[in-house]
Symmetry: C2
Subunit: 335 residues, 2 copies
């Protein structure tokens, strides 16, 4: 199994990414192709003593900037690291892509090069910690304007992901809304409720904001605008709680020792909320394996993302998603 | 200043509400009319020794149930406690209403009896704690399907509320979205960005989910679907953090003592996130003063809500909102 790593993307530069690749190759045995400026990557690889690992380099002369428009990147940078990485998958020389670069450009390039499953809106899925097992939130940012049947698609994809990746039979699917009853929510969600309820999924019904971290369902379906806000709100809230706690206990030595432990717990919590810690967020609905990482990913997150890509490619998840979508008409329903 | 309290609404029954009213009358000097079943309320009032306070009772023979449909309640229960409370304001016998009952019914009744400011969509506003001063989130549930110009209206109302109630000159207005640039967001939000940017408000630009608790802006504008999910997510996350922290430090006595302090800090935090602690959430955009409380409000929250109602009525906020809306056309723009 070979994974192509966009070794130029991200806020922190190639050295962090190469280090993550070296850890993945060493610990997980994954074959990796680093994609980017050859001479630079050779240097980085030598620096971290990665010469004897199953890591090769594929040259790409361009880099998509973090703030660049995805359509500009697609049109003007045909030799960008992210594009060459997807080309490797298309050509069968790699089985998945990991990128911590411009996520809009990664999304657009994945759709353009690998193609979408017919009729499906690809979505970004992310695992979040809960009081029980992790839950998958889908979508967290690929689709900011959705129709009800797109939410059904997210439910189907999320269900299959949890079944295959987390080995759970019959995952429970919840729809994020503002009340338990199917009659609660905006127009989009009320119609999606009906579609999910009449599908063959194990549909639990609506879940509210307060249920997201309770772990009552395995998959939480929402549009990418709402999902992205929820994800970032959770990160921000964890930080705020730490800061408030610090204020509360200033000057009390016992509390300070307690605070040390509390802070550790919080930091762990915040990291768990940060999807990079789960190894990046898979893009579901394209014909191939693609993992989107935080721009600020540390080597460990890059390593984990490579592990997830390896795992999903081994499971043939993209093919299974396509097969599960191809024989149903309800996902195309236009309301 | 007289406030009408819907003394039958809420999950916990009239005794909690009457107790809150007694505390408000005693501590704040507010005159209060308890609205509901006369004999029952007389008993409750006698029980908490409230006979000598400026509290009177107005009979209402019906009660809107928590799960009842707002339109049914409006049509069928013309002598409900919440309706009679708003009638008292309409007749000039009270200057504001507080209700912890069915919030949809309270909203519908307020709009029907008091009327809406012309062209305006009333919205529920709530103060949340941040690292700096509290921020106002508007809307948190009144409008689940909004047009861009409704978001502009929320910005105008939120700005005036913060200016009058929190005494802040030129409040900073943020628009909740998924990226800093005005080009980021869904269709609704991108258009609202342009409206807000070309208004006379002190528009800061987009804020992301992670900024909600940072306190960079005074007002966070969003539609009621997104706002309600954010509010409830925050409540749920605070609970999850407490539970996770408890797991982390089990069995370590020093940590347990630290945990006691940490838990206190969290409980305080959770209460601050719970809008009842801020004295309920004002409904802005109706021609009068109305405060919506959590169904599970404790006496303290009811007291605070009565205080907020008293304060807003004294400030003539509803009239000021109407005046500020009446001479501008941009709030009616249909895009």
């Amino acid at each position: 199994m070979t994974i192509a790593l966009d070794a130029m993307g991200g806020d922190k530069g190639p050295s962090i990414l190469v280090q993550g690749a070296v850890e993945a190759a060493r610990e997980l045995g994954t074959e990796i192709i680093l994609v980017g400026k050859e001479s630079l990557l050779e240097e980085e690889l030598a620096r971290v003593d990665g010469k004897d690992l199953p890591i090769s380099i594929k040259n790409a002369s361009q880099v998509v900037e973090m703030a660049e428009s995805p359509s500009d990147a697609l049109r003007k940078k045909k030799d960008s690291s992210v594009r060459v990485a997807f080309d490797l998958v298309k050509e069968g020389r790699a089985q998945g892509v990991v990128s911590a670069g411009n996520s809009g450009a990664t999304l657009a390039t994945a759709m353009f090069i690998l193609g979408r499953i017919k009729g499906v809106r690809p979505a970004i899925a992310t695992l979040v910690p809960t009081l029980k097992d992790p839950s998958l939130i889908i979508d967290v940012g690929a689709n900011v304007d959705c129709k009800p049947h797109h939410l059904l698609q997210f439910g189907i994809m999320g269900s299959l992901f949890v079944k295959e990746f987390l080995k759970k039979e019959s995952p429970k699917i919840g729809l994020l809304s503002i009340g338990e009853e199917g009659s609660k929510g905006n127009q989009q969600v009320k119609k999606a409720y009906d579609l999910l309820a009449s599908s063959n999924l194990n549909f639990f019904g609506n879940v509210e904001g307060r249920d997201v971290f309770r772990g009552e369902v395995d998959v939480i379906v929402c549009d990418g605008f709402v999902g992205n806000i929820c994800l970032k709100l959770s990160e921000g809230l964890a930080e705020t709680v730490i800061a408030m706690l610090k204020n509360e206990i200033e000057g009390n030595w016992l509390a300070i020792m307690g605070y040390g432990l509390a802070k550790k717990a919080f930091t762990r919590f915040r990291k768990r909320v940060d999807y990079a810690e789960y190894g990046g967020a898979p893009l579901l609905g394209v014909k191939g394996t693609a993992i989107i990482c935080h721009g600020s990913s540390e080597p460990k997150a890059v390593k984990n993302a490579i592990g997830v890509a390896h795992n999903l490619a081994s499971l043939n998840l993209a093919d299974k998603l396509e097969a599960s979508m191809s024989n149903r008409k309800d996902i195309l329903r236009i309301i």
